[in-house]
């Protein structure tokens, strides 16, 4: 089985500062993978490098196509949706406009309407508020909107950057349940970066652990969860 996303020897830089030091990993099609690590380990940078939002070297291949040199918007157009840290909500636009923006690159107008309905089915709260300005939503609702907006692309791969950040635990559980459902039912491959390792490992089937810009451990999520070191460093018990 060939990998859907293949990252080899990724190095990324902020100005003079190197943030990633030769990072390699692969995602299988249909998998739900989590990338764990402490603050500043390079998780966000990894996601940003995939979408060419930070200067990097190394090879990134998506479904056999090299991504290097492609602009962010063209990478997105290949079917990679990226839910950024802080959610990237267009706060002055309505919920529905946010969803339409998710589908802005698509030309199949008829299906877009259906997809919006489908998102409302996944996230009923968005339906209640579809004419509201997105900035008036709560943090949890905005995160759902961000996921829904990403799904409007009909992505093959979805990258999520700390979706649990700043949300109440109950809401995070809900959100992760939906992510699992989307992964199974809509066949979207998911890579989720998380600080909440416990939840992420429950949800994911694959896991990578990243430390100071390098992958230090990888494997089945259950195995990783039972690993002594990971438990001490990231799960805190």
């Amino acid at each position: 089985m060939t990998a859907m996303l293949n990252v080899k020897d990724l190095r990324a830089y902020y100005g003079q500062v190197q943030a990633l030091h030769g990072l390699s990993f692969a995602l299988n099609e249909g998998s739900l993978t989590t990338l764990l690590g402490a603050n500043g380990a390079g998780k966000t940078t990894t996601l940003r490098a995939i979408c060419n939002m930070v200067r990097s070297t190394g090879a990134i291949e998506f479904e056999g196509k090299a991504l290097s040199g492609k602009s962010t918007e063209n990478i997105v157009r290949l079917g990679i949706a990226h839910v950024p840290q802080g959610r990237g909500t267009f706060t002055t636009m309505t919920v529905e406009e946010n969803l339409q923006l998710g589908a802005i690159t698509r030309t199949d107008k008829k299906n877009i309407v259906d997809d919006i309905e489908r998102m409302y089915a996944h996230f009923p709260v968005l339906k209640e508020r579809y004419t509201q300005q997105a900035g008036t939503l709560s943090g949890g609702e905005q995160q759902m909107l961000a996921v829904a907006r990403a799904l409007m692309l009909r992505p093959r791969l979805m990258l999520l950057d700390e979706p649990s950040f700043g949300l109440a635990p109950l809401i995070v559980r809900d959100l992760f349940k939906i992510l699992g459902k989307i992964n199974r039912e809509e066949k979207v491959t998911i890579l989720v970066v998380e600080q909440n390792a416990q939840l992420a490992l429950e949800l994911a089937d694959q896991a990578y652990v990243i430390e100071t810009g390098k992958i230090v451990m990888s494997g089945n999520a259950k195995e990783i969860a039972s690993n002594e070191d990971v438990r001490k460093s990231y799960l805190g018990y």
Partner: protein, 339 residues
Amino acid sequence: MSAATEDAVTEAPAVEAVPKRAMTLGLGTSLAVLAALVIAPLFVKNFIIFQMTMLLIYALAVLALNILTGGSGQFSLGQSAFYAVGAYTSAILMEHVGMNYALTLPIAGIICFAFGFVFGQPALRLSGVYLALATFALAVAMPQLLKLGFFEHWTGGVQGLVVTKPDAPFGLKMSQDMWLYYFTLAISIGIYVASVNLLRSRSGRAFMAIRDNEIAASAMGVNVALYKTLAFGVSAGITGIAGGLGAIAVQFVAPDGYTITLAISLFLGMVVGGVGWLPGSIVGSAFIIFVPNIAESISKGLSGAVFGVLLFIVIFLVPHGARQVAIVAQQLIGKLRKG
């Protein structure tokens, strides 16, 4: 990142930082330039001496803008307004009050300092493009203010005022033009030396701290409000003195001599000379005096286009202006010597 910060603007730095040492010339080069400026008038005609006087005067005005922008990181597209106020102050004092021309200059400087300081008050709350906008509006509005019927008795309205050119004092056998040139040169040297010292002083460091990072500067205890207005005041004051000298040199003041075109010229002179590089002021000044002369002799109205095109060339090819050229030349000479 919280939602509250999403609307925040990360501003690009107003101007690129220039290290303090890079703002001046070495002693040897300074003396060579000075010697050339002292000797040159002895060999040329009066009209050329007049042009050299204007060169020094505009160099002062460019220097003043350079202190403001290169030093403290604030913009002004309104220097023509301060120049005009200085020119009118000198002209009115000389023609209506009968004051000696030399005495009118400090007064022009002080009045413009006050004007700049007061204008700098609202400017405190503005940064970058907003400040550029406010000063742009000031420059556009200035000629109309000078034409006002209310001041006509003093300003001469649209007609302007004619100024008498002073003779050389102490019975010196020297043409009026030559005397005025040396007079201007002496003032220019004084102001240049004072400016260099200002930028090297505590205040200069405060200016530059504000330029590079206003918030950090205030966190370090720099009184940002005071120094920003002070920079505006000093810049306006020097521009005012230049304006006064300009009025004496051209023997005439009129509202249409101080339009936005003058402000643009001075701005251009600063960019061409190198932002933050004080000696570049004279290069910039030469540029804004001689380029239009040449362009207008080819076709009337061509100078704007030539200015604009050259400005774009500077922006794209030599963003640090004459300073960059000087550094490259220095390196070349160094290489030639070794080779």
